[in-house]
């Protein structure tokens, strides 16, 4: 079966969603004429016209704020924030408006917006174009946060995000845009909040999401050579996250390692570790290990960035630690 690149998978999902629902519009900087910084919106202006594919000025606060108002008035806006670092400029619209409208107005409305945004390093883009800020958003009641690791998940989870009546932040790791894969390789996510067991194993559970899943899989192969069998879980969505799958796995392996590219402190891994420690402490045979970026801004220089992003060797070391 033909393989599709990660970015193209989202592009295909966008096309199919827009063909099926005329209320979907796209908003973002350089998404129309320029086809997006990472070309995810390639061809969409031509296909759907300027009434549905809107090139916006560089005004993140107004773009996301407008998406909230448009959603309250019958449209389904999909917004592209060019780099996740720029989402800081739209935080009022996300944190005070989109996330709260349904609750705060007594259930009178939902805010069906999807905000697509690329995170992550690997491009030497420096401290303001490389951050993984998803934990901030997962901390806000009312938002959902999705972060796929494969073209197939990106395709299906994007469709699920558009179908979802609540505001969804759809996080795309920049390093994945070049990754190819089949779009329907078996188990397909139908909705948000279901993890995928990427690799079955008996000795340790390694939980991850986004591009870090591939790092973890590389580590699992190395560990296999040492006779260590790692079960790898791809969360796919961080808010909500699939507690059932994680707890079920920990109950079998009795060891837990959590891996993400985002800064380790106060991250997604902290939440998962805390929940497992609270509710499944008796299942654990060893302390939980978290692997994440160090507590520093993402550095620019190639040699610095290479040391910054958690590598397979760090995952291998983390797993060994839980087994020692």
């Amino acid at each position: 079966m033909a393989e599709t690149r990660f970015g193209k998978a989202i592009n295909l999902a966008l096309v199919e969603c827009m063909e099926g629902d005329p209320s979907i519009i796209l908003l973002g900087e350089d998404i129309g004429q320029a086809e997006g910084s990472f070309k995810v919106t390639r061809g969409l202006l031509k296909k759907f016209g300027p009434e549905r594919v809107l090139d916006t000025p560089i005004s993140e606060a107004a773009i996301v704020g407008a998406a909230v108002g448009a959603a309250m008035s019958g449209l389904k806006p999909v917004v592209e924030i060019m780099f996740m670092d720029f989402i800081t400029l739209a935080m009022d619209a996300l944190v005070n408006q989109a996330s709260k409208a349904r609750f705060m107005f007594g259930g009178q409305c939902s805010v069906p917006i999807v905000v697509r945004t690329p995170h992550g390093g690997g491009l030497n883009a420096g401290p303001q174009h490389s951050q993984c800020l998803e934990a901030w958003l997962a901390h806000v009641p009312g938002l959902k946060v999705v972060c796929p690791s494969t073209p197939s998940d990106a395709y299906h989870l994007f469709k699920a995000s558009v179908a979802d009546p609540d505001p969804v932040i759809f996080v795309e790791n920049k390093a994945l845009y070049a990754v190819s894969g089949e779009l329907n390789p078996g188990e397909i996510p139908q909705d948000i909040g279901r993890a995928r067991t990427v690799r079955a194993g008996n000795d340790v559970t390694v939980v991850s999401y986004g591009a870090a899943v591939h790092t973890v899989l590389a580590a699992a192969q190395i560990l296999q050579l040492e006779g260590i069998s790692a079960e790898v879980i791809d969360l796919r969505s961080l808010q909500p996250w699939d507690e059932k799958t994680v707890f079920g796995s920990v109950a079998r392996t009795h060891r837990l390692v959590i891996v993400h590219e985002a800064v380790k402190s106060f991250g997604v891994g902290a939440e998962i570790a805390a929940r497992v420690a609270e509710d499944a402490f008796d299942e654990l045979d060893a302390p939980i290990v978290r692997i994440g970026a160090p507590f520093m801004p993402v550095p620019f220089g190639r040699s610095l960035e290479e040391q910054y992003i958690p590598a397979a060797a760090a995952v291998v070391a983390g797993v060994r630690k839980t087994l020692s």
Binding site: M72, R102, F103, M104, F105, D166, A195, D242
Partner: protein
């Protein structure tokens, strides 16, 4: 003519009496949190809304009781909300600063200064994309002139030719500070800079506000440029109820009766046949509606916590 004026007076009296009643309820501890009153500014709400229809949408501010009442929210559910009751329009979860009624096009009051502006921008975009004749209006105070999202929204509305009416209620105060110390420009300058139409109006003259809004709305419905309507008005009460306003010159508040929008409109009606009895009838109707609403709110139950937590998401799959 007289009917229209009477109807706007009735709206203003309803807003004034509601807020006076809220002040009393707040002082008596029957309203939790804090409230911001628009007493003295009622002509903006009544005048603008007299030119809008049910299909039109608005966003408003922390000082938004007048706008939501004038747009047609049911008084009963309004009082229940502000008093934190289960059958409030927002189920007791929003309160005074977050009153919304989607059924009459109120997309929400807002606790964040300026935050309603881009929401109205998006609503105007939806009206245009969906090819309806509706327009959106966003109310904001002169304090919001210092918020960056206003400039982004002025720019976008102009670029996209959106049916959006920016209503600046200029009462001279940014919370506890005179706006003259907070904002170096003018909203007229901003409007002109971005190519929007602009009108300044005596915001305490309800007929003038209605007329200018009608003109602006007609132009917007015909595809004209977005419009900024600056309404010059007076904030009689403090930033919030209970604010002693020590930062204000006592002389500033003296002699306000002469500019009171209700008194000015009533004066015109008194000169007409049966004017006095019409005004008395309005007072009586409004008083009775408010007392009914307060009684119903007091009798309403308190909101259920589990129902509240269940409404954070429309749908949610737990792991």
């Amino acid at each position: 003519m007289k009917d229209r004026l009477l109807s706007m007076i009735e709206t203003m009296v309803l807003i004034r009496s509601t807020e006076n009643r809220l002040a009393k309820l707040f002082a008596d501890g029957e309203i939790p949190g804090f409230i911001h009153l628009s007493i003295g500014q009622e002509a903006v709400a009544a005048g603008v809304m007299s030119a809008l229809g049910p299909q039109d949408t608005i966003t408003t501010t922390h000082r938004g009781h007048g706008h939501v009442i004038a747009k047609g929210i049911g008084l009963d559910r309004f009082f229940r909300e502000v008093m934190g009751r289960a059958n409030g329009i927002c189920a007791g979860r929003g309160g005074s600063m977050h009153v919304a009624d989607m059924s009459v096009g109120v997309l929400g009051a807002n606790g964040i200064v300026g935050a309603g502006i881009p929401i109205a921008l998006g609503s105007a975009l939806a009206h245009k994309v969906r090819k309806t004749s509706a327009i959106a209006a966003t109310f904001f105070g002169d304090g919001a002139q210092a918020e960056g999202v206003l400039y982004e929204s002025l720019n976008l509305s102009s670029l996209w030719g959106l049916p959006l009416l920016f209503v600046c209620e200029n009462n001279g105060w940014s919370e506890f500070s005179p706006t003259s110390r907070q904002f170096a420009g003018t909203i007229e300058g901003l409007a002109r800079a971005f190519g929007l139409n602009y009108t300044r109006v005596d915001g305490n003259d309800v007929e003038a506000v209605a007329l200018e809004t009608e003109n602006a709305a007609m132009s917007l419905r015909a595809g004209g440029n977005p419009h900024v309507l600056e309404c010059m008005t007076v904030r009689v009460r403090g930033h919030f109820e209970g604010d002693p306003q020590k930062y204000r010159d006592p002389g500033e508040l003296a002699g306000l009766e002469a500019s009171d929008p209700i008194a000015r409109a009533a004066e015109k009606v008194r000169a007409l046949p049966k004017g006095d009895s019409d005004l008395r009838a309005i007072e009586e109707r409004v008083a009775s509606r408010i007392e009914d609403a307060v009684r119903n709110a007091r009798e309403d139950r308190l909101p259920d916590f589990r129902q509240a937590i269940g409404d954070v998401y429309t749908t949610r799959r737990e792991g």
